[in-house]
């Protein structure tokens, strides 16, 4: 069990009153998590006490910054159990991480007629980078079906894999359904030696991640969904694969030797970190990792799974609520619509009640089309949420239904 009373005191923003002096109920952690005081103050302190550019510096501040930056890399490595810190690349976002892999992997491995396998429920950030590859290399993208709960259809998925399949990119935890991709799906790829990219944007904050056990070759996530700052993304890639891939961006920090005729590139991870990196953001992510690690990822997972079950049970009793995906393995995310009320209305109504939810297509337009809806509302939980907040939410959606009743 986790002590939410204690945890809530760590998040200054939870003291904020919304519009009508309502207590903030933050049910939008899947979009971005709030930040604990410790992350905010440590980053502030870093700017005041230790800040300088990283690498190559001789002076004290440069050494301190470099040390803190590299220490953060080791924290990330341990957090997801990568075998070496060389496998952890700092980017500006998970989206950039996926683009990095899509571009460099395709340049090395994808030719006309090759195939990439995705699913129909991917976030736009795990669709569009591959669309760009498709346009550039004239390859084909195949989309695995999902069932109504957001589980990948295993048989259909298996039928898409063949000798032309060069890479599979798939969400680890759906940002619409909250369901986890089954390990059997990854095993099908592993059995055929097809590299897998797992989009861990939602899973990194809710599950205990072990990239070696998962059987993925690439795993991406962002700092801001893990109670850390925005502006920092992570790319994990197996060392032996990343070493073979070409550079992504050129610039300072990623070279070994430069003449006016050309350059040789440095080794991992610096090879993929051209330019001044997000220094304080990486440091802040390290602080956030310490924070969640101290609470315990399994404890966090249990807490959020309980909240999800509570909310799901309450909502399933309401005949005016349609829920998208009701399987018991849902984790921290519930997408829903109120009968005959557009999700925008629901979001504005709840906002005035102090409840922050997200409304729209959640960057999953193809999935919305498949669900035959224009948009959905989405509530999502973090470590600071409580069952009492769910009660307020349930009352609020009832009021919303009454308000818009014809």
């Amino acid at each position: 069990m986790i002590n939410t009373t204690k945890i809530r005191k760590d998040f200054p923003i939870l003291d904020k009153k919304i519009l009508n002096q309502k207590d903030l109920i933050y049910f939008d952690t899947a979009a971005s998590a709030q930040k604990p005081e410790h992350v905010i103050s440590e980053m502030d302190n870093f700017y005041r006490q230790n800040y300088s550019n990283v690498s190559r510096g001789i002076h004290t501040l440069s050494v301190e910054s470099t040390f803190a930056f590299e220490e953060a890399r080791v924290k990330v490595q341990k957090f997801i159990n990568a075998s070496s810190e060389k496998e952890i690349i700092f980017t500006k976002s998970a989206t950039e991480s996926i683009n990095l892999i899509a571009q460099t992997f395709a340049e090395k491995n994808i030719n006309e007629g090759d195939e990439i396998v995705l699913t129909t429920m991917e976030h736009h950030s795990n669709l569009i980078p591959w669309f760009l590859v498709r346009d550039k290399y004239k390859c084909t993208i195949k989309f695995a079906d999902i069932d109504k709960n957001g589980h990948v259809d295993k048989e259909h998925f298996a039928s898409l894999l063949n000798d032309k399949t060069k890479i599979v990119a798939i969400t680890h935890l759906s940002n619409v359904f909250g369901t986890e991709t089954n390990s059997e799906i990854l095993k099908l790829c592993n059995d055929r030696n097809i590299p897998v990219l797992l989009d861990g944007c939602q899973s990194a904050a809710h599950l205990d991640i072990d990239v070696q056990k998962l059987g993925c070759d690439f795993y991406v996530f962002s700092g801001h969904k893990l109670y850390g700052p925005s502006g920092i993304g992570i790319l994990y890639g197996k060392e032996e694969i990343l070493e073979q891939l070409p550079p992504y961006q050129g610039g300072g920090g990623m070279i070994a030797d430069v003449t006016l005729d050309g350059a040789t590139f440095t080794s991992l991870p610096a090879k993929y970190e051209a330019g001044t990196p997000p220094i304080v953001e990486a440091f802040g992510l390290g602080v956030a990792i310490d924070y969640v690690t101290e609470i315990g990822m399994n404890n966090i997972n249990n807490h959020e799974t309980e909240l999800t079950k509570t909310a799901l049970n309450e909502m399933m009793d309401l005949d005016f609520v349609e829920i998208y995906g009701t399987s018991s393995d849902k984790n921290s995310i519930i997408s829903f619509n109120l009968e005959n009320i557009h999700s925008h209305e629901v979001a504005s109504f709840l906002d005035v009640e102090g409840v922050a939810i997200r409304a729209g297509h959640h960057c999953c337009q193809p999935l919305m089309k498949k669900l035959n809806v224009n948009s959905t509302s989405r509530m999502s939980f973090g470590i600071y949420n409580t069952a009492d907040e769910i009660k307020v939410f349930i009352d609020a959606i009832k009021k919303c239904r009454d308000f818009f009743k014809k």
Binding site: I341, H344, V352, H361, F403, F404
Partner: protein
Amino acid sequence: MNDLLKELYQEIILDHGQEPRNFGTCENHNKSADGHNPLCGDKVHLSFYLDENDIINDIKFSGEGCAISIASASLMTEKLKGMKLSEAQSIFNDFTKLVKGDADTLEILNDEDSLFALKGVEAFPMRVKCATLAWHTFKSAVENK
């Protein structure tokens, strides 16, 4: 009920949101455009017939979206039907100001106008794009030759 919500969802908005007027496609249109809000997925198709005197003779819309975007489109078609194009363009400017909280500088619209029902949007900056979708679609239809 909260005053901001009452202001946003006035009776007329809920009415037009649920039963939009001028819904469909103009049979003999010579101007049309599609509007799309990629951030939320709302869509509108607008068509109208602009006669030789630059009068908007008939105007209709179709699409899907929230109550605010549908009601705004519906009220817009009611307002613009039979209006001279140049006046419609001035109203476009006024309406944009109205929903962005700049009602003091309007040139044509006054507070007895049905479009004032959408003034409540000013308290919800994220909903301005809902209220203006149909209007921007109108503008692009005008600009389409």
